[in-house]
């Protein structure tokens, strides 16, 4: 059976902190996996579910901030929440600029961490939804014929059928047929819907 429950990752080299944070997160009904270091986390086979990462700034070997960059470099787009024993402002600014959701100083308020985790999971869900929508659209786009793809760029520019027919050198009726097929294959409900889909697929309107 495929997992769908969200999963929170915790990386902290201090075992006491790790255990405590795990217990806190589990107490609100979330699943947790914890790791003592970055490489340990990277070796773990992550299930395809909404996730976020609670990351200690001071890690042995590589700092949490550098690890955040490393994740981005490897194309792992997890929302990151930093926890630190003594955070200073420049450090937190750096982390937030690199896309961290929250920067918490130990000992933190439990609600702050749980709120940040909730925000992160929502953000990850949204990111996953968008990613799956795009891949679905890509599948639909693949089913279009060359002529239909050509037509799509013209249709989304808002030209009337007659003009489109002039441009591609065919009759208005043929355009109508192609256009109906195109809309059906892309499962678009309106011209506006089609324009939005084309935007997602990075297709530019043709003048």
């Amino acid at each position: 059976m495929k997992r769908t429950e969200p999963l929170v990752f915790v990386i902290d080299d201090d075992q006491s902190v790790r255990t405590a944070v795990k217990s806190l997160i589990r107490s609100v009904g979330l699943e947790v996996e914890s790791f003592a270091s970055g490489p340990e986390f990277l070796q773990y086979a992550r299930p395809d579910v909404p996730s976020c990462l609670v990351l200690d700034v001071r890690l042995p070997g590589i700092s949490g901030l550098d690890f955040q960059k490393e994740l981005a470099r490897q194309g792992i787009h997890l929302p990151v929440i930093f926890i630190t024993a003594h955070g200073d402002i420049p450090m937190s600014v750096r982390a937030m600029k690199a896309g961290a959701v929250e920067f918490l100083t130990k000992p933190f308020r439990d609600q702050d961490l749980l709120d940040a985790i909730q925000t992160s999971l929502n953000r990850d869900r949204e990111r996953r939804r968008q990613e799956s929508e795009i891949s679905e659209l890509k599948v639909r786009f693949e089913t279009l014929t060359t002529r239909e793809r050509e037509l799509l760029a013209l249709v989304i520019s808002g030209k009337p059928n007659k003009q489109i027919a002039d441009v591609i050198g065919t009759s208005e009726v043929t355009v109508k047929v192609h256009r109906a097929n195109l809309t059906r294959k892309m499962r678009a409900e309106s011209l506006a819907d089609l324009v939005r889909m084309a935007g997602r697929l990075n297709i530019a309107p043709k003048a």
Partner: protein
């Protein structure tokens, strides 16, 4: 120093024509006197001519001297050697003629060489005086300046013309040092040399740090002259002061960073378990708030709390052991010596704070203690006092340190005239991280108190609105042994 071209010959030699003219003139005078006296004293001319050639040799040097010898010889031959009034002579006149020539030549040469040697010595001395890298001033017994050299002009700004014949005291001694200068003059007049580092005044009124050596020189047995030799030591002084200041800053800095590092390390070591305790506590309440409560998870979390809190306590215990036993080196000490060493160390800061220090250190029995730790306590108290006074910005900053002993204790008191301590503050200043200074850490007095207490003494502050009084006591060595 740039070498200056010194006159190779003293000016009183005069022009060469003048010198030959002088030779001629003196010979003519000698001849006139000889002719005048010849009828009465037949050989008197010898005396006159010899005197003339000697004078010419002395003042006119070798050339004119020999010239005068030549014309004298001719004149003598012409006027006085028979046959007179002719340049020829008879056989019996020849020895007479040559003995005159010889004696005149010798007299002239002797005079000119002697004079030249003396002049050479004088030029040599002048060169030495002028080109000396030390500033030299020669004054007479009434303190009138006789002569100064170039270096003197460079340091003091007076040219030789401006200061010669002036009274040196009024020219270069700042009014507030007149007494010192007069005392030194008295010693000089008794024939002693005086050497000291002092302050002298320039022409523009600015002061200069100098080392001054004064030497009395008796001329002619009774009349005294004094040579003063000055060296500008402003730079040395400044360098020495900078060095001392840097040293004090280093001590201050190392004290601050040691405390700072200690605090950071304690903070990190203790913060981790505390963070875990807080989080576990929160988790436990959440487990218990569930319906039904998850007692197993709550128990685990509570057990973790106990474990983490114990760990935090261990960290603190370890640090305390390290601070208390790891570094203490107990030995018998004189508290006054500790006080003096710290005052010495802080000399630059004391002067920078324009603080006047008054000490009243009684004779103390020794105490058993760690010198470095007790120095740190004194350092803290004195720096606090200086800071309090600079914050108060009053006219007179007076730091008084008293030490006394009674009933088995040595007591040290540090008074200042700074911002003072209110009753409310007095109870808080020993708390960790309490500070009234913008860049303070708030550990100085906390650490000082723990040091004094670990030595078996007490450290306390007396509330006082007009400056603070901090005191500590330490048990006297023998007494504390009995107590143990």
């Amino acid at each position: 120093m740039q070498l200056r071209e010194i006159r190779a010959e003293p000016r009183f030699y005069g022009h060469v024509l003048f010198r030959y003219g002088m030779a001629l003139g003196l010979v003519v005078i000698a001849l006139s006197l000889s002719l005048l006296l010849h009828p009465y004293v037949s050989d008197a001319f010898i005396v006159f001519f010899l005197a003339a050639v000697m004078i010419v040799g002395w003042f006119g040097r070798t050339g004119p001297g020999l010239f005068s010898v030549a014309i004298s010889t001719l004149a003598v031959d012409y006027f006085f050697i028979v046959p007179r009034h002719a340049f020829v002579m008879e056989v019996e006149g020849i020895p007479y003629f040559f003995s005159f020539l010889l004696s005149a030549g010798c007299a002239s040469l002797l005079a000119s060489t002697r004079k030249q040697a003396e002049d050479k010595q004088r030029v040599h001395f002048d060169k030495l005086f002028e080109q000396s890298p030390e500033a030299i001033m020669l004054v007479d017994a009434r303190d009138r300046v006789q002569r100064v050299n170039e270096e003197f002009s460079r340091i003091f700004g007076y040219t030789s013309n401006e200061i010669v014949d002036g009274v040196s005291l009024s020219f270069i001694v700042p009014p507030y040092l007149h007494d010192e200068a007069l005392a030194s003059r008295t010693r000089l007049s008794l024939g002693e040399s005086v050497s000291m580092e002092t302050v002298r005044m320039r022409k523009d009124g600015s002061v200069v740090q100098v080392s001054e050596i004064a030497v009395p020189v008796a001329i002619g047995g009774e009349r005294m002259s004094y040579y003063y030799i000055f060296r500008d030591i402003t730079e040395n002084k400044r360098a020495a002061e900078a060095l001392q200041r840097a040293h004090a800053e280093l001590v201050h800095l190392s004290r601050v960073t040691t405390v700072g590092e200690l605090v950071t390390s304690i903070a990190h070591e203790v913060n981790q378990p505390i963070a875990a305790v807080v989080t576990n506590g929160n988790a436990a309440s959440r487990w218990l708030a569930q319906h039904p409560p998850n007692l197993d998870e709550a128990r685990d979390a509570l057990e973790n709390i106990v474990r983490d809190a114990t760990r935090a306590g261990d960290v603190i215990g370890r640090i305390r052991t390290m601070v208390q036993k790891g570094t203490a080196h107990m030995e018998p000490l004189d508290c006054n010596e500790v006080i003096r060493s710290v005052l010495n160390l802080l000399d630059a800061e004391i002067r920078r704070g324009e603080v006047r220090v008054s000490t009243d250190l009684g004779k103390l029995p020794s105490v058993i203690g760690d010198r470095v730790q007790l120095q740190q306590v004194m350092l803290n108290l004195i720096i606090n006092a200086i800071d309090a006074m600079s914050a108060a910005n009053r006219h007179a900053n007076i730091l008084s340190i008293l030490s006394s002993s009674d009933e088995g204790f040595v007591r040290v008191q540090v008074h200042d005239t700074g911002i003072g301590i209110t009753t409310e503050l007095a109870s808080r200043i020993f708390n960790p991280f309490f500070t009234t200074k913008p860049d303070g850490i708030g550990m100085g007095l906390t650490i000082s108190r723990s040091i004094i207490e670990s030595h078996g003494g007490r450290l306390w502050a007396v509330p006082n609105e007009t400056g603070s009084v901090l005191s500590f006591t330490l048990p006297v060595a023998g007494e504390s042994d009995e107590a143990n």
